[in-house]
Amino acid sequence: MDVDRRGFLREAGLAALAGSLVEAQAQHVHQHAAEAKAKGVYAPRTLTAAEYATVRILADMIIPPEDGQAGGAAAGAAEFVDVLCTAASPLAEAWQGGLAWLDAYSRRERGGVFAKLGEDDRRGVLDRIAYRRNGSGELNPGIRFFALARQMVVDAWVTSAEGTRVLGYKGNVGMKEFSVPVEALNYALTRSPFKAE
């Protein structure tokens, strides 16, 4: 639902960290992203090329391309992450630190940085950090990072034109009178405790 004055605080892994940003940078964020879009190739501003490539891999693992639908990368998740990292240093720290942790863990456990691993090894790594129940002194930083990564990739996907279309949002248009289709109402009623009424 829309962010309105009643639903103000969004909590994802890093809630309550104070953002700080030089005013000028905020203005450049828009400009930079718009320019990059125009050129057709996105040049990350805060993530390194290697970090950005890893984010693209994560994005397509979190929301995979399938059934002809775009995955997280095509939905612009890596660009979104770079834009937000440029906008807020706490997010840059979380991503840079998280990606560095990921590479160190991958090297130690699977013999190479995350981007260099094969599909199975990458899954092996994510299967550890994608669940709070695997919490341990060693894995906790990765679990915390992946919760943020998951949230932000999902956010990028659902807010993309394609993600919104796949979800089926049909609103923010004009209607003369408001009503809902009777098929929809009947669908819900027959599946509810009120179907006999």
């Binding site: 829309d2 969004r10 953002g19 992203a33 979190i62 706490p90 919760a147 609103g171 923010n172 009178e177």
Partner: protein, 574 residues
């Protein structure tokens, strides 16, 4: 009237603040032929330029997270897409909170104030709400009675509703008096289910009463159901004091609007009458002074208290209107509690547009007003959320957190969850208590050098018990429709999950009215007992904070005060 040369202009009426109260006063007085000067601390409003009504997250590289990623790092404003200039924190204009208290204060700085952003819920007080302490049927000995009655206010409820346009249905429920309504729109599927679940529990669930046009009115077109009311409405199909009252009042030629004007204090003369407003031009930080016959303070409840406390003069050593010492005291906010659930009956439903107007098309008015056995005083109404909202940053945070993992199953969980959740939000009455008030901070000033407010806030057992009741009721409603509670299932203690004070944004009561000048600041016309040409026209005069959103009553009382001011001016008493 303006004088030539070096003589100063004496304004007839200066109104401080352009929200629901100030906008109503400006509108009513200019219609009655009175010249009004309206000061607004914030800047001007340009709906076509300023409202993001029909934008989507995909229009922005940050997808609505904000230019500084505030959705992830913490917001100062109330929301990226919301109408402009409403904040939890204003740079250069801090407030402080007493040790052991938690309070957040939302302030707007724009023409129209928070009426540009609010939920448009438009509820009359019940008759018994004006006599909570001593009502013959329901009085509970708590708090205080108003010095005015429903009968005094009802004609003004009529006027406001007929002028601003309110949709709803007549239901004959004592806790929710019927108004002058435009037709109510159709309801959403999840609202049908909520209604039926409520019916099984003998709880009323009726069409909402909203300051949103479903038919054209006074040159404004009807709502087009884009569901983005909180972002501002370019067609002024919902109520905002800016678009519905101030812009038309400007056309009369009798309203002078001064923006970027932060009132610092009110000056009184040796006779104790108010004679001028000192304000700061917020762009240049220059101090200015304007003289006035009558001053109406409508800066929002706590800002009004702050201004009066900062207006210490020889004749008013405790601040104007504060001979009683009550200014800043009797602060309350609405009791808030929310519970969400997922409803299997909605899973897989054919997708359709559920936007409507923003907010529930149905709500639950308080139904236990006559129950002598309930464990807490007063009551609450219930607001209902659900449907296929515009996907935003954070919309699926709950699913992500519950499902965890990654890949196809995560994506499926997100897609399958869409539209299956509903939210119930309780909005209840807080009893004023000794520990809840605001005062001037003894040390801190804002960037204009004006002493800031320090807030003290505490809930009492009354409110905690009310929240326990809300939790039990909401769980029953959700489960009654075949749903499952996804939020707090088993509260560890009574009242767990109660809102942080101030976050429901109905803070009020800080310059209360009453018959006795020893225990109140204002009379029944919101006129200061100790300074007869000063009035207060926001929610500061409220004696209680019933389970009805304050805006309609702010407008009604402001209209009534305006009629009184015009009458007194005509008689030469002001």
């Amino acid at each position: 009237m303006a004088q030539a040369g070096r003589q100063r202009e004496i304004h007839d009426v200066v109104v401080i603040g352009s929200g629901a109260g100030g906008g109503t006063v400006a509108h009513v007085l200019t219609r009655l032929g009175v010249r009004v000067t309206l000061l607004e601390a914030g800047g001007p409003l340009n709906p076509a330029r300023d409202f993001k009504e029909h934008k989507t997250p995909a229009d922005y590289p940050h997808r609505g997270a904000g230019e500084r990623g505030e959705s992830y790092t913490g917001r100062k404003d109330v929301g990226f897409f919301g109408a402009p200039n409403c904040y939890w924190e204003i740079d250069g204009e801090p407030y402080t909170v007493g040790e052991g208290s938690r309070f957040r204060w939302a302030r707007a700085r724009v023409v129209g104030g928070r009426t540009n952003h609010y939920g448009r819920i438009t509820l009359r007080f019940a008759d018994y709400d004006f006599q909570p302490r001593t009502h013959p049927e329901f009085g509970d000995g708590l708090g205080d009675d108003w010095p005015i009655s429903y009968a005094d206010v009802a004609p003004y409820y009529d006027k406001v509703e007929e002028f601003i346009g309110v949709c709803g249905t007549a239901e004959g429920i004592r806790s929710a008096p019927d108004g002058k309504f435009l037709p109510a729109p159709g309801i959403r599927v999840h609202e049908h289910l909520v209604q039926r679940s409520c019916r099984k529990l003998n709880i009323p669930c009726i069409p909402s009463r909203m300051a949103i046009l479903t038919r054209p009115l006074n040159g404004r077109v009807a709502c087009h159901y884009c569901g983005q009311c909180g972002r501002g409405c370019v067609t002024a199909s919902n109520y905002s004091s800016s678009q519905v009252q101030i812009f038309p009042a400007l056309k009369t030629g009798r309203l002078k609007l001064i923006t970027n004007a932060m009132a610092r204090e009110i000056e009184t003369g040796p006779d104790g009458k108010a004679r001028a407003v000192i304000y700061v031009d917020t762009r240049t930080r220059e101090e200015k002074r304007i003289e006035a016959r009558v001053i109406v303070v409508a800066a929002s409840a706590c800002e009004s208290a702050r201004l009066l406390l900062n207006s210490k003069t020889k004749t008013h050593p405790q601040g104007i209107a504060n001979s009683s010492g009550v200014v800043g005291r009797f602060l309350t906010d609405t009791v808030g509690y929310g519970l969400n659930g997922t409803v299997p009956a909605l899973a897989g439903m054919p997708k359709h547009d559920t936007d409507g107007y923003a907010g529930g098309h149905v709500y639950v008015p308080w139904w236990l007003w006559a129950d002598k056995k309930k464990s807490f005083p007063r009551g609450y109404h219930i607001e209902i959320g659900g449907g296929y909202g515009m996907p935003m940053v954070g919309s699926f945070a709950g699913v992500c957190s519950r499902h965890e993992g990654y890949g196809s199953s995560l994506k499926k969980a997100v897609v399958d969850s869409y539209g299956t959740s509903i939210g119930l939000s309780g909005r209840g009455e807080m009893i004023p208590n000794e520990k809840t008030y605001c005062e001037l901070d003894p040390e801190v000033v804002d960037r204009f050098g004006i002493p800031v407010l320090r807030f003290h806030f505490a809930w009492s057992d009354h409110e905690m018990k009310q929240v326990k009741h809300m939790h039990e009721t909401f769980s029953a409603i959700i489960e009654g429709m075949g749903g499952q509670v996804t939020g707090l299932r088993n509260p560890e203690r009574e009242g767990q999950g109660i809102s942080v004070g101030g976050t429901i944004i109905h803070e009020l009561g800080t310059v209360r009215m009453g018959r006795d000048p020893r225990t109140s600041a204002l009379n029944g016309y919101s006129q200061a007992h100790d300074c007869r040409n000063v009035f207060v026209a926001d929610a500061a005069p409220f004696v209680s904070n019933p389970d009805k959103n304050p805006t309609l009553t702010i407008c009604a009382l402001a209209w009534r005060t305006s009629d009184y001011i015009a009458d007194e001016m005509r008689k030469g008493n002001l």
